[in-house]
Amino acid sequence: MNEFTILMHLLSNKTNKIQIGASKEEILKALNIHGKNESVYFQDLITHLSSYIEPLGLQIRFNPLSSRWYMAFEMQTSDFFSANPFEGKPRLAATLFCTLIYCLKNLGIAKIQDIKEIRKKKHIIEDLKDLRKMGYLQLDDKLGKVSLTPLIGYQLDLNKLFIKLALKVKDQES
């Protein structure tokens, strides 16, 4: 029993469908780390645990949507476990992607009307409701607005996606 056992538990803990892992503050509190060097010690722990779990095909990741650290399978291993929750549902994936881009543009909240217009498809409301059911979105029907839950931040490498997207946009421009 040591710090890593506790860290393993905190980072692999699923409180509910949309809350996984732990924030830096929670980790520091659980391990009773404080003082001016707490960030150094925290970074040290994360780095060391990462190197321990790497041979097991695991890695520590950070979800920018919830500011929580969590444990995940490495990308290649994730493919093996068929991590894509939209397997065979490209329409839903595309609607979620549009919502993501609009939320990114508008400080986390998107207008349902904008998504309808950009998608130019029928059944967008049904898509959004399905995505809500899956835990990805919060819908405000009265205000006609939609926001993301932190769930997609756990399941999608947003950095990688935006780099791919930036390259695609660059290709289209050139």
């Binding site: 029993m1 009773n32 994730s78 894509n84 950009i118 990688k160 997207l165 930036a166 660059k170």
Partner: protein, 216 residues
């Protein structure tokens, strides 16, 4: 003199190949791993090929600088959220977006079978106040005017022992206990006892075990 391996030509050729591919637009530097080049340079560097390698290293660094420039451009692109919207407005097919999302999916790793109670109990035991990392404080130096000298007794041991002998010799013969009676100072008793042992060893005083008496 040992044989020196020199891969500079090979590495230079590799760098040139990459540069050609970048110029012709076949690849962008962001797609190229430069790490193996630097690793190769590092592993095969020795005193014999140092001169040639310094030029190769310069070429490799130039490539790295170019890569940083490309990365800067890419980061600027990422910051352009309008660019992303432009992509959406170009009416991409669902399959195209689906393809874009490919390779980006992650599977979180959850252990739900761990006993939380046990872990919390263990955590509480572990949660002791930590002194890590220890801060080092410099001790204030104190100026001492006097010079230090090792404290030594004013008299030599033999002199002190003989003083003790002179003090007790008139009491003798007497019992062992009488020698020390009346003295409450433990350190002096211990000191006198040591003198007595030495006097017994030297034969200046004798001891009769049966009567517990000391005599000359």
């Amino acid at each position: 003199m040992g044989e020196y391996k020199d891969f500079s030509e090979e590495i230079n050729r590799k760098i040139e190949e990459i540069q050609t591919k970048v110029i012709t637009g076949e690849v962008t530097l962001l797609d190229v791993e430069l790490f193996p080049i630097f690793e190769n340079l590092k592993d095969s560097l020795n005193t014999g090929n140092l001169n040639r390698y310094s030029i190769t290293y310069k070429n490799a660094s130039q490539l790295l600088i170019q890569k940083f420039e490309e990365l800067k451009i890419l980061i600027n692109n990422i910051d352009r959220k309008e660019g992303f919207l432009k992509f959406l407005k170009s009416n991409p097919e669902d399959s195209e977006i689906y393809q874009l999302l490919n390779d980006c999916w992650i599977k979180p790793f959850n252990i739900e079978s761990l006993s939380l109670d046990f872990l919390e109990y263990s955590r509480d035991k572990l949660s002791v106040k930590r002194g890590y990392p220890t801060s080092i404080e410099h001790i204030e130096k104190v100026e001492v005017k006097d010079t230090f000298l090792l404290e030594v007794p004013e008299q030599k041991f033999t002199e002190k022992m003989l003083n003790f002998y002179n003090n007790i010799k008139n009491k003798l013969p007497c019992s062992f206990d009488e020698i020390f009676e009346g003295d409450q100072n433990q350190i002096r008793i211990y000191e006198n006892f040591v003198y007595l042992l030495h006097l017994l060893q030297l034969g200046k005083i004798n001891y009769q075990k049966e009567t517990n008496f000391l005599y000359i």
